[in-house]
């Protein structure tokens, strides 16, 4: 069976618009630069050698970060732009839910716009006549259908656009992140409509950032990254691979944030004053530096330095300390803060009734958390070494950033290990 959509070695190169492009005929003529300007000197490949095939009747997801070429791929499939090289083949009538209501004219009524939009999408007048009621009911715009479209809210506008596009009855439906158009109820209606399409053996190409949707709705998925195909096949596997890469990206971001914060704080003149308010969240580093914290790293369960942890994973804070002279009055402290600066947890060796006796030379301190039971979010870390009376040797305030990820989406800060139990007459849908 021939696939419904087939991309073979597709490359799409855009000319990067720089100041040099011929903005006006005059400049082109004056500088005799038409020929030079027409030659693409600076180009940008939105897609590079991408191949995939969507079988007939499949629901196919395309995921990837912003700027990864998803929308370009969709435009190529829709035929709006042509590939620079490679071939795009589509079998059957396409309807693209890309820009909803793109053809609407604000001055004329919703009714007239439905007809014109339908004709643009390839329907005949008679076909629109037959489907008109269904379209209006789907968009929930019966009372407003004779008002000019300029009086519509953006939600109404989108709903009408969606309703027309989906009633074209295409063989191939292209969807670009349009499920965000309406309220909860409308989104459900759209999903039902997609389900109906699938039952009738139509092909759906879905571009979205909603990974859950890809996992539940799609039969297959591809992951585009920087214009190249990174993974394809089973949606769960592709989404998994994508999430891993996103974490790696975040990891890098956290690493640079931390490095920058530490560097900036290091330049500051150390103020031996203890800050008056422990709970005021301002970044910085201060202290007399008789003992210095020379390195801080966060280790994951396998002992590797990391900046991204999963809720419930172990976390170890590893401090390298250097005492310039032997001291006997010292307290190690740790503080965990949420991104908003709320203190989640703070402790020190004094509070836990460990009295310092001797510290000299290079030393290591490890603070191990068996389960990091925090909800998803970005957190910051305080580490400090100070005297019992609070006089700081070296205080690192909010310099270290890490991220906690969770597959679930609870709110708050603390995620206690928990389980639900129900009596047998409480039944939930089985997860697919």
């Amino acid at each position: 069976m021939t696939p419904a959509i087939e991309l073979a070695g597709v490359t799409k190169v855009y000319r990067r618009y720089s100041g040099k492009q011929f903005a006006t005929l005059k400049s082109a003529l004056l500088q005799r630069s038409i020929a030079r300007d027409l030659r693409p000197s600076e180009t940008f490949a939105a897609l590079e050698g991408v191949s995939f095939a969507v079988p007939k009747g499949a629901t196919f997801g395309v995921i990837g970060r912003n700027g990864s070429g998803k929308s370009t791929a969709l435009k190529l499939v829709a035929g709006i732009t042509k590939p620079t090289s490679g071939t795009v083949r589509v079998d059957g009538r396409i309807s693209a839910l890309i820009e909803l209501g793109a053809g609407f004219h604000p001055e004329i009524s919703g009714r007239e716009n439905v007809f014109i939009n339908g004709i643009m999408l390839g329907l005949t007048k008679r076909e629109i006549q037959d489907r008109f009621d269904a379209i209006v009911d789907f968009a929930e715009l019966r009372p407003f259908i004779d008002a000019p479209v300029k009086t519509y809210s953006s939600g109404m506008y989108m709903r009408l656009g969606f309703a027309v596009a989906i009633h074209v009855d295409p063989d191939v439906l292209l969807v670009d992140e349009v499920l965000a158009v309406g309220d909860e109820g409308f989104t459900h209606k759209c999903l039902d409509k997609f389900a109906e399409f699938r039952r009738r053996g139509k092909t759906i190409l879905l571009v979205t950032h909603s990974l859950g949707l890809v996992e539940t709705l799609c039969d297959e998925a591809v992951w585009l990254d920087g214009g190249r195909l990174r993974a394809d096949g089973d949606p769960k596997r592709v989404v998994g691979a994508y999430l891993t890469a996103v974490e790696q990206g975040e990891e890098q971001l956290m690493a640079t944030t931390t490095a920058k914060a530490v560097e900036e704080a290091g330049v500051e003149v150390p103020a031996p004053e203890h800050p008056p308010d422990m709970f005021r969240a301002t970044e910085g580093r201060w202290g007399s530096r008789e003992v210095e914290i020379s390195a801080v790293s966060l280790l994951n369960g396998s002992g590797e330095a990391s900046f991204v942890f999963h809720s419930g994973d172990p976390l170890e804070i590893h401090l390298k300390v250097h005492a310039h002279q032997p001291i006997d009055d010292f307290v190690f402290g740790i503080g965990l803060f949420s991104a908003e600066g709320v203190c989640c947890y703070g402790t020190n060796t004094d509070a836990e009734e460990m009295a310092g006796e001797r510290l000299e030379g290079d030393a290591e301190v490890r603070f191990a958390i068996d389960r990091l039971d925090l909800v998803e979010g970005t957190y910051k870390l305080d580490v400090a070494i100070h005297k019992k009376d609070g006089f700081p040797y070296d205080y690192h305030r909010l310099l270290y950033t890490f991220r906690v990820k969770s597959r679930t989406h609870e709110v708050g800060i603390y995620r206690p290990p928990h389980r639900w139990t129900f009596s047998p007459n409480v039944v939930f849908k089985r997860q697919t």
Binding site: A23, L25, A78, T81, I98, G103, H105, E107, I108, F115
Partner: protein, 263 residues
Amino acid sequence: MFANLTNLIRYRALIQSLVARELKARYRGSVLGFVWSFINPLLLLVIYSFVFTTILPNETPGVQPYGVFMFCGILPWNWFATALTDASGSLIAGGNLIKKVLFPAEVLPIVSVLANMVHFFLGLPILILFLLVSRHYPRPTDLAWFPVVVLVQLVFSAALALMLAALTVHFRDIRDILTNVLMLWFFATPIIYPWFQPNVQRFRWLFDINPFTHIAVSYQEILFFGHIGQWKWLLALGAASVALFLACYWLFDRLRDSFAEAV
């Protein structure tokens, strides 16, 4: 290219509804609505008549009343000039359609030409009324030529509209250049002066190479003078317009793929 040209026929329902939309949208929200299509040319005619019979009387024999004579050329010229101005901006104005939807771009300039043709038709009753009042009765044999002139002008305008629309996407200056060129062209065409004036005849060749001369003179002969002497020129222009249309369509087709990116 020819496959795309036949597509143009397939799009006629689309063109039809877009022309209707254009006309509806233009007067939507105004109290008089379509009546403006009659009032605008009427006011124009009244002004010209007043100026050239009272303020600056033009007594040239054979072209009386002068206002009505001028109006025979001004009405089609307005169609031509507005169509080209609209068309040159049509792809940019319809940018959403070209960028976001699979949409046959050539429909847009053609809709500009056709929508303005409808306005031209709506102005005709006013002209005919004044012709009859001033006792200029066009002969039925001449009137048979009327659809021919309209058709020639339609093909000629559509050709230029396609070319201008495609080029304006890349060179936005064209819209400003066009305004000035049209102004010059208007005065270079025997519309507000009769072509048989001795001064016109002295530069005869200049007027002969101006395509709109033959269109304007044809309208004047058919409606005002009642004898068509220009028909050979008209038919030649018709044939040339078809060739020009094909050439412009070819250019448009060549540039088509750049529209979605450059708009």
